[in-house]
Symmetry: C2
Subunit: 513 residues, 2 copies
Amino acid sequence: MAIGLKFSIIIFSLFSMIDFTFTFSHTKPQPRFPSSPLHPELQLSSASDEKNLYKTKYFTQILDHFNYNPQSYQTFQQRYLINDTYWGGFKNNAPIFVYTGNEGDIEWFTQNTGFMFEKAPHFKALLVFIEHRYYGKSIPFDGDKNIAYANSSTLGYLSSTQALADYATLIIDLKKNLSATDSPVVVFGGSYGGMLAAWFRLKYPHVAIGALASSAPILHFMDVTSPYVFNNIITQDFRSVSENCYKVLKGSWKLIEDTFSKKGGPKLLQKTFRICNNDYDPDSLEGWLQTAWIYAAMTDYPTPSNFLNPMPAYPVRKMCEAIDRSSTWNNNNNNTLDKLYGAANIYYNYTGTVKCFDLNDDSDPHGLQEWQWQACTEMIMPLGSNNKESIFPESKWYYDDRSSYCQYAYNVTPRPHWITTEFGGHDIKKVLRRFASNIIFFNGLRDPWSGGGVLENISKTIVAIVAKEGAHHVDLRFSTKEDPKWLKDIRKQEVKIIASWIKQYHEDLKFNN
Amino acid sequence: MAIGLKFSIIIFSLFSMIDFTFTFSHTKPQPRFPSSPLHPELQLSSASDEKNLYKTKYFTQILDHFNYNPQSYQTFQQRYLINDTYWGGFKNNAPIFVYTGNEGDIEWFTQNTGFMFEKAPHFKALLVFIEHRYYGKSIPFDGDKNIAYANSSTLGYLSSTQALADYATLIIDLKKNLSATDSPVVVFGGSYGGMLAAWFRLKYPHVAIGALASSAPILHFMDVTSPYVFNNIITQDFRSVSENCYKVLKGSWKLIEDTFSKKGGPKLLQKTFRICNNDYDPDSLEGWLQTAWIYAAMTDYPTPSNFLNPMPAYPVRKMCEAIDRSSTWNNNNNNTLDKLYGAANIYYNYTGTVKCFDLNDDSDPHGLQEWQWQACTEMIMPLGSNNKESIFPESKWYYDDRSSYCQYAYNVTPRPHWITTEFGGHDIKKVLRRFASNIIFFNGLRDPWSGGGVLENISKTIVAIVAKEGAHHVDLRFSTKEDPKWLKDIRKQEVKIIASWIKQYHEDLKFNN
């Protein structure tokens, strides 16, 4: 697809495909994000109801936990959201549920983690959602993004180990202030937040008694998980609906390129896909479509949702239905393009309100963009497509491409082995079967990130819950009346396990006192 | 004792009392160290034999593992010593024993960790001793101590978390280079090195299958262990020998001050204690004596030793014998001073070669002095004396004293709760009984540091081995023919436990393959 001196690098934030197709003459590439969503339930509620979900607080956090030079002592205001409606109080050593925030605005994650709100009454739990440094309103350097994001000197403090130390520091201080030092803490997180939750339990067992790590691809690193498993899962998601759908998607890239190169082709594509600007390039269109297929697979939820974009239940199936509608591949190219548009529309325009699409839309409603820095330093999660079966164009994973990009974008060299050095990953079963406890790894197998997840039980207390029909941290979402039985069962299972941790903790507490 | 605007702060490196008695008019106080020792066996051996103990290598280590600013990418040469004489090789997945170096020259610790050399043939183990950053020859900033030690900007990278990450990085790289990725690693350490070994197993279970943490006071932190337990143990060590010895030591401070204030007193003291310089101050003399009692207690080994200074077996008993010799307290002051000198002489001059003593001797043969920085940042290990029973003068622990000193010396504010935030400590039994595995905590109860050690079994695989008659990591020392049965038994027990870890690991390896 790409011609000349061009690098085509796709860095996925766990929630946002950042398509780093760029040439050296390009300006710094920007991630492309879908338009702003809120959880449907929350969207329906008024602003004041939303406020009642939680109170916003700030904690004075230290800039660098692992260094003692003068700069390290700088502080910043770290935002956290708190809800004590259901808390049983420190006198009862009632539990504290903490969400370990991911790469974006904590309000967004909070509003999409209904599980914690819905289960808090049962557990009499205090709810705390902590924002990850450098995201949302938790910006070092006096909250000034112009400084914080300026270059590697100021971005340098954005790392997973610093974030985990932030959480430990904040939680310990909060418990002390609440006189709740004996209240057990359970950490929750989805996606990168789930990785942080699992790592937090592993690194700070004295702070958290257990972790629910949902859709946490902690194994999606170099030399641990194949770069190609992600796209293979997406391929399988679509192929399992229909062979025709699979073939249409697979053939679409050549079709688009062929059409584009014909006379009148660019105009036809522009019209078919309702592209706003005339001078788009076909790579943008292809990236735009890939984004739709990827996020449909990630959020292939069993009920209508509005996590990334408003979408119907089982959007992958819906997309394939749009493609399969009364024709087969290659009968009529124009018709095929229409169908591709119809499928993409399910992701981009399910409400039918968009008039035309800006393929290079770089709006970032959830404030995810600094993931790009993390992906250039330690979060080297290889992704590519080499399988002949893939619905995506071939795009081999080369570490050097990432490295070159990061040099270009930030003048920084990634440390591709740091995450596995710090947190492990190789032979995880062998390492953890006789070490650690109390972690639930949830994965939905429709979710392409499940390829880097923990899919087998490691020990009696480090368990994998796998939902064949599940997608990206579906378990953590607000429940709906339409939830299928398997999803209800999984949530029950998670509640049961978490309850057993807390019960054990309280017994140990009595025993020790 | 102290008059005027004077702070009397004692910071103990685990091997070196750093007496920070200072006034604001003083220059930066220097630690006082005993003269150079080598292990007796090693002292007897020729230089070439010493060389045969290990080969010296260097590893290019990154300056800051937790930050990605340009400065963090600087590297330094980290020294490690290696002995492959006994290694069973990567094909047999033979084990690797790693010593996690403490706050000093790694050669010194290596030469005092005979246990690893003596057990290596049995285990067919590769031996590796890694030097701690900022000590010995492992100095950042091109090995230039003038830069590395200059101020908090360059010293900032000296921290325990950075050191642990160094060890993980080096070990993973070494195993890869040796094609030994499946060889199990067991970490060993004594004192601060033992703390690092235990913490390494807790934080890097994917790198080390187990840890022997000898005399590791991981609980000797604020709000976990009393600041006074250290001196109380020393008091008990001496008092258990004889009540008279205890009384003489306890009364000695007043005796010295009274004598000093009398006409001719300073001269008398100078002569009695063979003090080189005329204008010494009585605080220095008292510090000099305290050092002797403290180190006698710490290294109250059952056989002659030469760890800190050459000393006879059971030096505490020997000191009390010198004091108890045919007189009782207060019969004759001059005679009492002579006896105190005789006792101190057992520590300072057992070989009888020293003509006079420089009370302010700041030689530092083992390169321990940067502990002072660690004690001013994260290693806030409270020590003091408030007990009426103590043999030491009253010296209450005030965190503010430490903090003021550190401000004065480095313009740095300590982070007194960081170590317990990062590594835990509170309720360790409750936290670890259901988390982690494979740690031996050895403690000898004569060792004052045992007060901050783990003295009870935590679980089946996190065990405390406690030797009533043991001193500071006596188990790790070279064996001698005169070793008592209890010491032999303890080493056997340690070998048995370590063997069980390795056996289990090899079984798991087979099972997983």
